[in-house]
């Protein structure tokens, strides 16, 4: 099972890649909607990368419900723990 720090790195990498920004610009307080105006396709692409890299099943609706990157990491941590 990946630890929280590893999960955060995977998520921040996916976000930075899809939104064309640097990983240093993305931290746990980053709000994808307010800060980047992320659209649903971009969110789905972020979700697809997470599923691929973490070997997890992630519903896009669950991801949409998280406000910040930190909350999304919490979600991933819970999923990851649940699977283990």
């Amino acid at each position: 099972m990946a630890d929280r720090e590893q999960l955060a790195l995977v998520l921040r990498t996916a976000v930075a890649d899809v939104l064309g920004t640097d990983i240093d610009e993305v931290d746990e307080t980053t709000d994808l909607i307010t800060d980047y105006g992320v659209d649903s396709l971009e969110l789905m692409e972020i979700g697809a990368r997470l599923e691929r890299n973490l070997d997890l099943r992630i519903e896009i609706e669950d991801l949409t419900r998280t406000r910040t990157v930190g909350e999304a990491v919490d979600l991933l941590a819970a999923r990851s723990a649940g699977r283990a």
Partner: protein, 427 residues
């Protein structure tokens, strides 16, 4: 001539030009390459490594996309869209267009031969085994109207946005149709042009299977030779060109620099063979006559012709016959830019229209690259060896596409009073 269109219509001004082409990424750069008749064809490593039958093409030299396209958008679009977005941004800047006062009266008209086919080829290669893992943006990246709609989004144009597919005539069709929209009062401003980036193994392989491409792998720079006796097919190219078209009175009122005018346009179809042109060139000839009539021009008014001139025997011969028919044996000087640029498919007609207008305005017709002797020399007055000086006069620009698609534009230089100072200095 300042007051009205020769045919008594609403006049359509060209106020901006932007290009991304093998012959250069500014109109002046392309103009210089054309005058020098310098071929841009070269070996493409990606084709050579795969041992393709045709291993060369005309590619756009490196250009910095960062100025026009952010990293976020860049990963959602493909090469043709990147090319055309950059060309459109240059055209808008050249026209000093922004902000557009009435965005609902501004539209986008873009032609493309194969659109997102090249990126769908890559998607099939990379994700064909597992389609469920393909990138989410695959459809918006590859759909045929992606490029046009990205331009509309970028510039906030809410008027009609249409993508035209008339194969190798697509760029010409888009400019002609845009001019019609402005004449008919549906638009005041249009970004019009064409684009393609078809240099991929599968697309090149497809054209090669038709025996349409030159196989002069040992000397790519001599491969594209429109109207030359030694031609053996066309050379694939890539690129985009976009023109800003405006209602003439609007352009004048805002003090825009006017490059010239879209004076006439016509389209016909051979309805003969799905790829071969009709040998006698009659439908193409009729297209030229209709475009001249639309412009209110007699054949004698035309200063030079920018031929489609692909460097395939079938095209060049039937086009020469068509010109001879239309001009009743009195051919104006004829040039063909594809000797330099290769065939940009949907990008060709737009690039050639823009450059033909500059040539007409500057009174210099570039020679056809690689042309030594032509079996068609008795039918058309080909410009060979060195640029030919002509008086400023309207130019006829031809495009003919697979499917028997014929599109012709007549472009006229701006009258002396409307001509930009820089151009006057060049004369």
């Amino acid at each position: 001539m300042t007051g009205a269109h020769r045919g008594g219509r609403v006049r359509v001004a060209v106020t901006g030009i932007g290009v991304r082409s093998p012959a250069g990424n500014t109109p002046d750069e392309v103009f210089a390459t054309l005058l020098a008749a310098r071929s841009t064809a070269a070996v493409v490593p990606g084709l050579a490594e795969r041992g393709m039958a045709v291993r060369f093409a005309c590619l756009v030299p490196f250009f910095d996309t960062d100025a026009h396209i952010g990293r976020r958008e860049a990963r959602q679009i493909d090469r043709p869209t990147a090319l055309v977005l950059c060309a459109a941004a240059d055209a808008v800047a050249d026209a000093a267009l922004t902000p557009v006062a009435e965005p609902e009266r501004a539209g986008v008209q873009i032609g493309t031969g194969v659109g997102g086919l090249a990126s769908m080829e890559a998607t099939t290669r990379d994700h064909g085994e597992r389609p469920s893992a393909m990138p989410v943006h695959t459809v918006p990246r590859t759909m045929a109207n992606s490029a046009a709609c990205r331009i509309a989004m970028r510039h906030g144009f809410h008027g009609e946005c249409t993508t035209y597919a008339t194969a190798c005539a697509s760029g010409t069709t888009a400019i002609g149709e845009a001019a019609r929209r402005i004449r008919h009062g549906e638009l005041d401003v249009a970004l019009a042009g064409g684009v393609d980036a078809p240099v991929t193994p599968v697309i090149m392989g497809g054209f090669h299977r038709l025996r349409a491409l030159s196989v002069r792998n040992e000397a790519p720079e001599r491969a594209s030779r429109p109207f030359d006796a030694d031609r053996d097919g066309f050379v694939m190219g890539e690129g985009a060109a976009v023109l800003v078209l405006e209602r003439w009175d609007r352009a004048r009122a805002r003090g825009a620099r006017i490059h010239g005018e879209i004076a006439g346009y016509a389209a016909t179809c051979d309805a003969f063979h799905i790829v071969a042109p009709r040998p006698d060139g009659e439908p193409a000839s009729r297209c030229m006559r209709l475009a001249l009539a639309d412009a209110g021009c007699a054949p004698a008014d035309i200063g030079h012709i920018n031929a489609h001139g692909t460097s395939t025997l079938l095209n060049d011969r039937s086009e020469a016959r068509a010109i001879a028919r239309c001009f009743d044996g009195h051919s104006p000087p004829v040039t063909a830019m594809k000797g330099v640029t290769g065939h940009l498919v949907g990008g060709s007609g737009a690039l050639e229209a823009a450059l033909a207008l500059l040539c007409a305005d500057r009174g210099l017709v570039p020679p056809v690259a690689n042309l030594r002797s032509s079996p068609e020399a008795g039918m058309v007055d080909l410009v060979v060896g060195a640029p030919r000086a002509v008086p400023p006069a309207p130019v006829l620009s031809n495009s003919f596409g697979f499917g028997g698609q014929n599109s012709c534009l007549v472009l006229a230089p701006a009258p002396a009073g409307d001509r930009p100072a820089t151009t006057r200095a060049l004369r």
